[in-house]
C-alpha cells in the first residue's frame, strides 16, 4: 500500500499491475477501490490459478494482458482485476474491483463480475468495453478532483453468514467485544430468523451499524417486502441494494475508519461510491 502511495505521489508510471494470491484478491481489489479516490492511472490486480512452476500455468497470459491493459491509453483509471475469461488462453476479463468475486476454487476462469456485465474484456490484444453506459461512471462528481488516499480501515467489523439455527450468541459476542459494524449475509431478499432480531436490536442500541446483504449474491436486498425484513428495517438495519457481502464488509470497514459520524456512515453505505451498486440489472445478465 505504501508503495502504491509512493507511486501515485510521484505520478511516474502509466499504470500499475499488482500480483496477488487469488483467494483474497477480491478483498484487496475492493479495499484499494475504496481507499484510492481518483487514481491517476489504472491499477490492475492479477494472479494465477495454476502455479507458475508448471508449463500450463495461466500466470503468463494473465500478466501479459494485465500489463497490456495497464499500459493502454484506453484503460480506465480505476481498480480492476484482470484474469482468464474462459478456460482457454484466448481472452481475459476486466472486472471492476467492487463487483468481482472468486467463484470457483480451482478453475482459471474463477473470477466473475456479479450482477451485471464486467467492465470489459481483452482479446487478441484489443480492449473491448462491455459495461452498460449507466453503470460506467464512478460518481461523475468526483471527476477532476485530485487523487485522495486513505489507509484507515476499522478493524472491529464482522461478516456473519446467516443459517437456519444460528445462535444469537454470535452477535452477543460482537457486542461485548465492542464491534463497530457487522455485515450480515442474510437469506433471499435479506432475511434472518426471528430469534436473531432482538439481539440485532440490542446491537443497534449499542451503536453498532448493521448492514444486510444477500447470500444469493445476485439481486437486490429489499427489507420492506416481508415481515422479517420490515422488522429489521424498523430496528435500523441498513440495506445497500445489491452490494456483494465481502465488498460490503470492506466498505463498512473503510467508512468506519474514515467517518466519525454514524449517520454519515449509514448514508454513504447506501450510496454508490465506487461502482459497488448496480444501477440497472439487465435481463440477460444472470446465468
Amino acid at each position: 500500500m505504501t508503495e502504491i502511495e509512493h507511486l501515485i505521489q510521484n505520478k511516474t508510471p502509466q499504470g500499475i499491475v499488482l500480483t496477488h494470491g487469488t483467494d483474497t484478491m477480491a478483498f484487496t481489489a475492493a479495499a484499494l477501490s475504496f481507499s484510492i479516490t481518483n487514481p491517476p492511472f489504472p491499477i490492475v490486480i492479477t494472479g494465477s490459478q495454476r502455479s507458475s512452476d508448471r508449463p500450463s500455468s495461466d500466470a503468463f497470459f494473465n500478466l501479459y494482458n494485465s500489463v497490456l491493459y495497464a499500459a493502454s491509453p484506453q484503460a480506465k483509471k480505476e481498480v480492476v482485476v484482470v484474469m482468464h475469461e474462459k478456460s482457454s488462453d484466448t481472452s481475459c476479463t476486466i472486472h471492476r474491483g467492487t463487483r468481482v468475486r472468486k467463484m470457483h476454487s480451482s478453475r482459471r476462469d474463477t473470477f466473475k463480475s456479479i450482477g451485471g456485465s464486467p467492465l470489459g474484456r481483452i482479446t487478441e490484444g484489443k480492449i473491448i468495453y462491455e459495461m452498460e453506459e449507466e453503470n460506467l461512471p464512478i460518481k461523475a462528481k468526483l471527476k477532476n478532483k485530485p487523487v485522495h488516499i486513505t489507509k484507515n480501515f476499522e478493524e472491529k467489523v464482522g461478516l456473519i453468514y446467516h443459517y437456519p439455527g444460528i445462535q444469537p450468541g454470535i452477535l452477543d459476542y460482537c457486542i461485548e467485544a465492542g464491534f463497530k459494524g457487522i455485515v450480515l449475509v442474510g437469506t433471499g431478499l435479506g432475511h434472518v430468523s426471528f430469534n436473531l432480531i432482538p439481539t440485532i436490536e440490542k446491537a443497534i442500541e449499542n451503536e453498532m451499524i448493521i448492514v444486510m446483504t444477500t447470500q444469493c449474491l445476485h439481486g437486490f436486498t429489499a427489507l420492506s417486502v416481508y415481515e422479517s425484513g420490515r422488522r429489521l428495517q424498523k430496528a435500523g438495519v441498513i440495506h445497500a441494494f445489491n452490494i456483494l457481502p465481502e465488498i460490503a464488509y470492506i466498505k463498512l470497514a473503510y467508512l468506519l475508519g474514515n467517518y466519525r459520524e454514524k449517520e454519515k456512515v449509514k448514508e454513504l453505505m447506501k450510496q454508490n461510491l465506487k461502482g459497488e451498486i448496480t444501477i440497472r440489472e439487465k435481463y440477460q445478465e444472470f446465468h
Binding site: E134, G219, S224, V225, Q233, I279, E281, Y283, Q284, F286
Partner: protein
C-alpha cells in the same frame, strides 16, 4: 362550437375529467431505466401466464376470473432500455425523486393540498399490460381547483374542483403486429414511465364546459414544463352521466374537438337504453321472464350451407341459443350511429371471451346464409321468442351467453355502468364494467413516502409562469389575440414561438408557419413529425439573413418533412439563392412575351394573372413586393 343537440340542464347532464400525462423525467418511476420508447427489435421474449388471486375478502375477483378464462398467454418484449424490474423480477427501487416533486409542483399549480405522508398503492391490471398484475400508484394531492371559462367565447368563469392527483406507472404497450389469437404481446419500454393522473369532480354541466375545462387543464399541464410534449402524451377521459342514466367513463379521446361529439353520442346511447327500459315496462316483461335457459341447437344446422357455421363445425364448435321473451325489436334499436343494442351485447361477448360475437333474432338471418328451414326450426325451438345465438366450444359459448344474459337483466335498469373506448368518430365500444373507482390497496414492497414540506414550500414560491398570465403577456408583448395565444400554448408551440421571435423572425411569418402551414402540409400527407424545433430555428435564422423569401417556407418544410435525411442547408439553398434584379427582369420579359395576347386584350388588368405566372418562377427567391413593382413597371411600358 357545435350546435346544441340536447337540453343538457333538463337531462341533468353532469361530467368530470380524468387526465393522464407522461412526465418528462429522464428515468422511470421505480427503477433507473431511461423513460424512452424504442423501435428496436426485442432482445428477448418472456412468456407468462396470469392466475386469479384471492382478494381481501377471500373470494376471487370476478374480473380476474373472466380474464383467466380467456386463457391468454402473455409475451413480453424485452429491450436494452429495460431492466428486470419491468419483468417483475425484483422489488421496486425507491420512488424517482424528480417525478415525485415534479408532480407535487403540478398539484400546487392546481391549488391542491399536498399529502404529508403517502402510501404506494396497487391497482389491479388484469389484461397483462403490467407484468406484476398491478400498477403502482401514489396519491400526491387533493382538494384543488382550476378556474376556467364556462365557454371559450364567454368571460364568465367557473371553478372546477380537482379531487385527486396521483403519480403512477404507465403500462406496457400492446404490440398489435405480433398479437394473434390468445397470444398477447406487450412491449415493455413504456412500462414504468411516470404518469400523472388528475381526477376532477363531476360538476361540469355541458359539453362546451367539458371542452373548455379540458383545454384549460391541458394548457396548465403543458405550461408546467414537467410533461412530455407531443400529440397523445396528454390523454383525457370523460365521465358522463344524465339523471336517469349512469356514470359512463369514455376513454381514448385524443382531440378536444371530439369531446362534444362523443358526449352527444353517449347521451343518445343512454337515452336509447332508457327507452328500452321503458319499453320493457310497457310490455310488462320482468327479469324472471328471461331465465338463463340455454338450448343446444347444433342439430338444426346438420346439413347447413352457411359458411360460418360449416367452418365452426370443423373446429368442433356448437351452436347454442338463449331464448329471450319480450325483446323482439329491441335488439335492433340503434343506440349509436350504426350500433344497435345487439352490438352492445356482441361487444361484451368479444371483450369477455375469445368469441367473435353473437347472432340475434332481430337480424336478417339470411345474410348468414341460414336456410328458411333453419330459421323456422330456430324460432320453433324457442317458441317464437326473440333469441341470441352463439357459436363456439360448448363451455365458452355457455359463458358467452351467461354474459349476454347478465347484460339483458341489466337492461331492466336502463343504463349499465361501464368504461367505454371512443373511436375517431366519437362512437364508443364497451371495454369493462365499472365498479366505482378501481380499488386501491397498499403496496408492501416499499415503505410510505414522507413528503419534505420545506421543499414543497420552496417550490410553491417558484412555480412556473401561470398560463393565464402567459396568455396576457403574449397578447401584450407580441400583439396577438388571446385565442391565438391559447392555441399556441395548448398545441405546445408557445415556447418555439417566443424563441423564434426573439431571434428576430417576423411575427406574421412565424404565426402563419406554426398555425397554418404545418397543418396544411400535414393534410397533404407530409410527416410533420420530421420537422423539429431545431429545424424551425435554422429555417427562420436563414430567413432573417434573407437567404430566401418567406414565400418559400411551405416548400422548404414540405421537402424536409418528406425526407428528413436531406441537409437543411441544401434545401434552403435550393429555394433561396436570392434572385438578382436582372434575373427577375429576364423572367418578367419572358412572361410578357409569351402572354402578348393577354396583355393586348386586358391591358393593366392583366397584372394579376401575370403576377401569378412570374411568382411561379420566382417564388421564394425574391420578395413578392419587388416582383410586383418590377412587373408593374414593365407592363406599363407595354400598354
Amino acid at each position: 362550437m357545435t350546435e346544441k343537440m340536447f337540453d343538457y340542464d333538463n337531462l341533468g347532464f353532469k361530467a368530470g375529467l380524468e387526465i393522464h400525462a407522461q412526465l418528462s423525467t429522464e428515468k422511470k418511476l421505480f427503477c433507473h431505466c431511461p423513460a424512452i420508447l424504442t423501435n428496436e427489435k426485442p432482445q428477448a421474449i418472456v412468456q407468462r401466464k396470469f392466475r386469479p388471486v384471492l382478494g381481501e375478502m377471500g373470494v376471487y375477483d370476478p374480473a380476474l376470473l373472466i380474464e383467466f378464462k380467456k386463457d391468454h398467454t402473455i409475451f413480453y418484449e424485452v429491450f436494452d432500455s429495460v431492466c428486470i424490474y419491468e419483468l417483475d423480477e425484483t422489488p421496486p427501487l425507491p420512488i424517482n425523486d424528480e417525478a415525485l416533486y415534479d408532480s407535487i409542483k403540478l398539484a400546487k399549480m392546481m391549488n391542491c393540498k399536498i399529502v404529508e405522508e403517502t402510501n404506494i398503492c396497487r391497482k389491479n391490471y388484469l389484461d397483462g399490460s403490467v407484468p406484476c398484475g398491478f400498477q403502482r400508484t401514489v396519491l400526491i394531492g387533493y382538494d384543488g381547483y382550476v378556474t376556467f371559462k364556462k365557454d371559450p367565447s364567454m368571460i364568465e368563469e367557473k371553478k372546477l374542483p380537482i379531487s385527486w392527483i396521483y403519480i403512477e406507472e404507465d403500462a406496457a404497450r400492446r404490440d398489435n403486429d405480433r398479437t394473434k389469437g390468445k397470444n398477447i404481446f406487450f412491449k415493455l419500454d413504456r412500462l414504468g414511465i411516470p404518469l400523472i393522473e388528475i381526477v376532477t369532480d363531476h360538476s361540469l354541466s355541458s359539453p362546451s364546459e367539458v371542452v373548455s375545462a379540458a383545454k384549460t387543464l391541458g394548457m396548465l399541464i403543458k405550461s408546467s414544463g414537467i410533461v412530455r410534449k407531443g400529440l397523445g402524451k396528454v390523454r383525457q377521459d370523460v365521465n358522463v352521466s344524465i339523471s336517469e342514466g349512469e356514470r359512463i367513463e369514455l376513454k381514448g379521446i385524443q382531440l378536444l374537438q371530439l369531446i362534444p361529439i362523443a358526449i352527444d353520442i353517449e347521451i343518445q346511447r343512454q337515452l336509447g337504453l332508457i327507452s328500452i327500459q321503458k319499453e320493457l315496462q310497457r310490455r310488462n316483461i320482468q327479469p324472471q321472464d328471461i331465465p338463463l335457459q340455454i338450448f343446444d341447437v347444433t342439430k338444426v344446422f346438420s346439413d347447413t350451407s352457411s359458411d360460418i357455421i360449416k367452418s365452426a363445425f370443423k373446429r368442433k364448435k356448437r351452436v347454442l341459443m338463449l331464448p329471450i321473451a319480450g325483446f323482439q325489436g329491441l335488439l335492433s334499436r340503434e343506440l349509436q350511429p350504426n350500433k344497435r343494442f345487439g352490438t352492445e351485447l356482441s361487444d361484451r361477448v368479444k371483450s369477455f371471451t375469445n368469441l367473435k360475437g353473437i347472432i340475434h333474432s332481430d337480424e336478417d338471418l339470411l345474410k348468414y346464409n341460414f336456410s328458411e328451414r333453419e330459421i323456422y326450426e330456430l324460432s320453433k325451438e324457442c317458441q317464437k321468442k326473440a333469441f341470441i345465438i352463439v357459436i363456439g366450444k360448448k363451455e365458452e359459448a355457455q359463458r358467452a351467453l351467461s354474459f349476454v344474459h347478465e347484460r339483458l337483466l341489466a337492461a331492466f335498469n336502463g343504463v349499465h355502468q361501464e368504461t367505454r373506448h371512443v373511436d375517431d368518430n366519437g362512437i364508443s365500444t364497451f371495454t369493462r364494467d365499472l365498479h366505482g373507482r378501481s380499488r386501491l390497496y397498499p403496496d408492501t414492497d416499499l415503505p410510505p413516502i414522507v413528503i419534505d414540506s420545506n421543499r414543497v414550500i420552496k417550490m410553491e414560491k417558484n412555480l412556473p409562469e401561470n398560463f393565464m398570465a402567459r396568455i396576457k403577456r403574449l397578447n401584450k408583448q407580441y400583439s396577438i389575440s388571446n385565442e391565438l395565444a391559447e392555441s399556441l400554448i395548448y398545441e405546445e408551440k408557445a415556447d418555439i414561438f417566443e424563441e423564434l421571435i426573439e431571434k428576430g423572425a417576423p411575427i406574421k411569418a412565424v404565426v402563419t408557419t406554426l398555425t397554418q402551414t404545418l397543418t396544411a402540409i400535414s393534410r397533404e400527407g407530409v410527416d410533420i413529425n420530421n420537422i423539429t424545433e431545431a429545424h424551425l430555428l435554422k429555417i427562420f435564422e436563414a430567413l432573417v439573413l434573407n437567404k430566401f423569401a418567406k414565400e418559400a417556407i411551405p416548400d422548404i418544410l414540405t421537402n424536409l418533412g418528406k425526407d428528413p435525411t436531406k441537409s437543411l442547408t441544401d434545401i434552403v439553398n435550393h429555394f433561396g439563392g436570392e434572385m438578382s434584379q436582372e434575373e427577375l427582369n429576364t423572367i418578367i420579359l419572358e412572361v410578357l412575351k409569351t402572354s402578348q395576347e393577354l396583355v393586348k386584350k386586358r391591358g393593366m388588368d392583366a397584372f394579376s394573372p401575370l403576377m401569378g405566372l412570374v411568382m411561379k418562377k420566382a417564388r421564394g427567391k425574391i420578395d413578392g413586393k419587388i416582383v410586383s413593382e418590377e412587373l408593374r413597371k414593365h407592363l406599363k411600358k407595354q400598354v
